[in-house]
């Protein structure tokens, strides 16, 4: 291995040098917008969330009750058969305690960490659940296997989105 140290003399560049146009720059802000069609399965799922309910689809071949619902079973590769309401309670499969925001900035002093969790929903098949966040719980108390319940926004606030559930809290 070459342990020789090189001393490259250069000009340090700071973020502010780019902002202040001290160096040549070009920038482009893309305007990319999409309006994804929800289709049959996700459309009904979101509509039911607005009603404060969680709905699943059942495949009569493998007998799985699946959420999020889908119009075809990805394992049996056949159309699914029935709509099934499931509970708004479940069990934590896995979770993490996140001390950084999406932009990788650390949370501020005193700010609560974000606790994403996969919750296996009661009434759905084993391993089927919702990826959401936990609330009303101290990070050190969270455990896999813990029972939790959905905390909903008020009916007026609900818009038919996964965020119509504010978070899941321990029961």
């Amino acid at each position: 291995m070459n342990n020789k140290k090189y001393d490259f003399k250069g000009t340090p560049l700071r973020g502010s040098d780019i902002k202040e146009k001290k160096v040549l720059t070009t920038s482009w802000r893309p305007n990319l917008q999409y309006a994804w069609d929800d289709g049959v399965a996700i459309g009904r799922y979101l509509k039911e969330l607005k009603n404060g309910k969680i709905i699943a689809r059942k495949c009569n071949k493998c007998e799985r009750i699946m959420i999020p619902p889908r119009m075809f079973c990805e394992l049996c590769f056949r159309a699914t058969d029935e709509w099934v309401y499931v509970e708004n309670t479940g069990v934590i499969n896995t979770f993490s305690i996140s001390y950084v925001h999406w932009d990788a900035k650390r949370i501020k002093e005193g700010e609560k960490p974000f606790i994403p969790a996969v919750i296996e929903i009661d009434g759905a098949s084993e391993g089927m659940g919702i990826l959401h966040v936990l609330g009303e719980v101290d990070p050190e108390d969270v455990k896999s296997g813990m029972r939790v319940k959905a905390v909903w926004k008020s009916p007026e606030e609900r818009i038919g989105a996964i965020t119509d559930i504010k978070y899941f809290k321990p029961i």
């Binding site: 070009t26 994804w36 069609d37 889908r70 590769f77």
Partner: protein
């Protein structure tokens, strides 16, 4: 080792300007179900899956990870091509040629109606330093190309307009097509100028839809299908991205891809040996340019072919009998799939009212649209 590979099943949705009732997954599921049913296979029989997805078209990064479920490809070998469907088809073909894989499914899908800032998205494909600061609308590149092509060849705007009239008329006989119409040359010339000399009707409108095909090695293909459609030759080629130094009058990448495919298919005289062509007509003049690049006539003579009716369904060399992108719609990365689909239906004799008599060898061609210079070709026979 197998040397011959055939298409043993095809499936598609309708191609429509919007498909608000179905998600992109449900669209592909419909096409896949039809293709597997036709081939008499189930996902468990399929050794590998090749999907086609461009992240920015789907609105997801790493969109390939969203491909398996709707294809029945969960927990199976999958790879995704960020290009045209025909590139995916060639990938599937080569996978079978390795002798390691016997049945491979290929997929492409367009949900163009979900891209609500389509023009900005296309502009995003331009070089950020040299071109984007100057670009207003991506169609200007097609305007530049068309103008130089007409200048060089003396082909007229009227001849380009005749391509639009023909393709939209063909689309009226294609139940899958979403943009069929009976219009006149004057309608095309009098529609708004988008980027001179290009008018609104010279540009293919966008469409949604999905296509899935099942490919198999020779022995398996003969077992699975009464009408296997064989891949005879393939070719693909990309030119420089540079808008500053590319050839503006001729699509060289199509010419080179054609030479590759013709050599493989042992075709010496394309016009005599090939019975029908589905080629990229994302803009009217592209059909004429591509006819020349594919060596169906010499440079500048494609206009005369259109004048003489050679490229009509009853003509000597029917071109885009499906209605092409002008009549079916621009399906983005699924465009080549629609072209190949038409060739396969025609070679099987299943093209209904637009059936071409004695169709035995057909060529499908795709170009990835403005501002790209990638061309892909597949030649099929029955």
């Amino acid at each position: 080792m197998t040397e011959k590979v055939a298409i043993v099943g095809v499936g598609c949705t309708n191609f429509r300007s919007t498909t608000p009732d179905l998600s992109y997954r449900e669209l592909t599921y419909e096409a896949a179900t039809k293709a597997y049913e036709e081939a008499g296979v189930e996902p468990k029989d399929i050794d590998s899956f090749v999907s086609t997805a461009e992240d920015f078209f789907e609105g997801y990064s790493i969109a390939d990870e969203y491909c398996p479920d709707q294809l029945g490809a969960v927990l199976k070998p999958v790879n995704t091509i960020a290009g045209d469907f025909l590139q995916s088809l060639i990938t599937a073909y080569m996978q079978i040629l390795t002798g390691r894989l016997n049945i491979v499914a290929v997929q492409a899908m367009s949900k163009a109606s979900n891209m609500t800032t389509l023009k900005e998205l296309e502009l995003f494909a331009f070089d950020p330093v040299f071109n984007r600061p100057l670009a207003e609308n991506p169609h200007f590149v097609a305007g530049l190309e068309m103008n130089r092509y007409l200048y060089d060849t003396k082909i007229t705007r009227e001849q380009c307009a005749k391509v639009v009239v023909k393709n939209k008329l063909n689309a009226l006989n294609n139940p899958y097509a979403g943009h069929g119409a009976k219009i006149t040359v004057e309608d095309v010339l009098n529609s708004e100028i988008v980027s001179y000399p290009l008018t609104r009707l010279d540009i293919s409108p966008s469409s949604d839809g999905a296509v899935v095909m099942v490919l198999a090695s020779e022995e398996t293909a003969k077992k699975l299908s009464d009408k296997p459609i064989w891949i005879r030759g393939v070719g693909w080629c990309s030119d420089t991205f540079s808008l500053e130094s590319r050839d503006w009058a001729q699509p060289i990448s199509t010419k080179i891809a054609a030479e590759m495919a013709y050599k493989m298919a042992k075709i010496n005289d394309p016009k005599r040996e090939i019975d029908l062509v589905e080629l990229s007509d994302l803009f009217s003049y592209k059909e004429l340019q591509h006819l020349e690049a594919l060596k169906f006539c010499s440079k500048g003579e494609a206009g005369k072919m259109v004048d003489d009716g050679v490229t009509e369904i009853g003509g000597e060399l029917p071109v885009n009998p499906s209605g092409g992108s002008l009549g079916v719609g621009n399906l983005y990365e699924c465009s080549g799939a629609q072209k190949a689909l038409e060739i396969i239906l025609q070679l099987r004799g299943e093209a209904g009212k637009r059936q071409i008599k004695n169709a035995n060898i057909g060529l499908a061609h795709a170009w990835r649209g403005v501002p790209t210079t990638t061309s892909v070709i597949a030649i099929f026979s029955n």
